[in-house]
Symmetry: C2
Subunit: 254 residues, 2 copies
């Protein structure tokens, strides 16, 4: 836990945060803080800053949050969205915190020919599970903005109706390990991007997209990119592709 | 399983591979291959190529490997070594296959001030467990070269005696999320690298290196690099840093 994340509902009318459970235990036992000590904190989907321990006991911790509320700054909005063919539950379960730790604005999970139906019934898609794991990653990364997550049972509807054509300043990338023929690296595909560009990154299922899916994505502005010659499992492909996109945006000063 | 990996001991005198267990089951049930069918395979620490199913039943699969042995090609040696402060067993357990999937020549696991003693007693350091998981990653990536793994109880001895000074053409990088002050991105630190360069990448423990460790690494030629402003857990830092190193080497055509 690099920052303590507070739900807005945990603030009382006087701007005090009252927490219990694992975060309070962490403050007491791992950080070993006492009254008057400061720690880095963030209000979920709000500002980042410092809070001060006012009092603490076995039941919980009371934090003074006036400075956080008055002078905290909001972290920047992430410029990267992810379209991900729904991975196996075990894989997705581990991926949530890694995605929010790396930084992503929105995660669209979608069906694909090589996605098994039962993946959609997993508890790792339950909103409370998803949110808890996303918060873990944000707390690690020092961010407060919870990625938006939506699940799409129809790949075709998602791409044709919801995504439609790329907007100006939006770059759509398709990492496709099984696609024949050479594709440029991510850096090349992001050259000459406008300063306010957004990136939408599509990562396929284990076994890759089928031809129909690949063609539909390409018709809707997705450009194939290569992650190298090694075939990565889809969770690793997500992490690697996100790293490379972020690094390229960072270097370009965006 | 993108390639079938065979132990040299699984080849008989006539160049036939005889396998049973999960790999044989995979060939029968997932790939649904029959006699005469070919599949992509590799001999561990040897060539990559094609093998042919000769016969199969519930007990196992017999493969003709003469073409693999005669015309298979050895994958290139990876140019990246990793020095990693021993992570928590649960984290390390997941990391093995990701490391070998991304590609690393050698993994040096070491002690550090913020590594807990009990991490060294975990079964995820047992050679048979390590090898099995490394092979999983290689089989996914399509590589045959098993990374060398060694465990070092003394950080100081490893750095001072074993690593010593950087050799010509070796670049040493230190990802250190907690270090004060700006550090260049990995790409910048790898500029103007000779064609046969090697990279040794050091990734610290949860909570980072302590000052002594950081200073000792820097004295021995490690250059600080930044992975951005978000604080990544050490396994994610490994994956991100390896991705960026590989991408930079790949782009430079090395």
């Amino acid at each position: 836990m690099n920052i303590l994340l507070l739900e807005p509902t945990e603030l009382n009318a006087e701007g005090r945060g009252v927490i219990s459970g694992p975060r309070a235990d962490h403050i007491r036992t791992v950080l070993a803080l006492g009254p008057g000590d400061e720690l880095r904190a963030g209000l979920i989907d709000g500002p980042l800053g410092q809070v001060t321990v006012e009092s603490l006991d076995d039941h919980g911790v009371v934090l003074r949050c006036d400075s956080l509320l008055a002078t905290g700054t909001r972290p920047p909005v992430c410029r990267v969205d992810l379209l991900l063919a729904l991975p196996r539950p075990k894989v997705l379960g581990r991926l949530w915190s890694q995605l929010s730790c790396l930084g992503v604005r929105r995660v669209m999970l979608c069906n694909a020919a090589r996605v098994e139906r039962y993946y959609f019934d997993s508890h790792v898609l339950e909103p409370s599970t998803v949110r808890k794991r996303l918060l873990d990653g944000l707390s690690q990364a020092g961010d407060t903005r919870v990625p938006q997550v939506d699940v799409h049972r129809s790949f075709k509807k998602l791409v044709e109706d919801d995504l439609g054509r790329a907007r100006s300043g939006e770059v759509r990338l398709l990492t496709d390990v099984t696609a024949a023929g050479p594709a440029p690296p991510i850096r090349k595909a992001l050259e000459d991007l406008p300063g306010d560009a957004r990136v939408l990154l599509a990562v396929g299922p284990e076994g890759g997209w089928v031809d129909f899916e690949r063609a539909l994505l390409q018709e809707h502005g997705f450009v194939r990119v290569s992650l190298g010659e090694r075939t990565l499992r889809s969770d690793l492909a997500c992490i690697v592709a996100l790293s490379l996109v972020h690094e390229t945006l960072r270097e370009a000063g965006r």
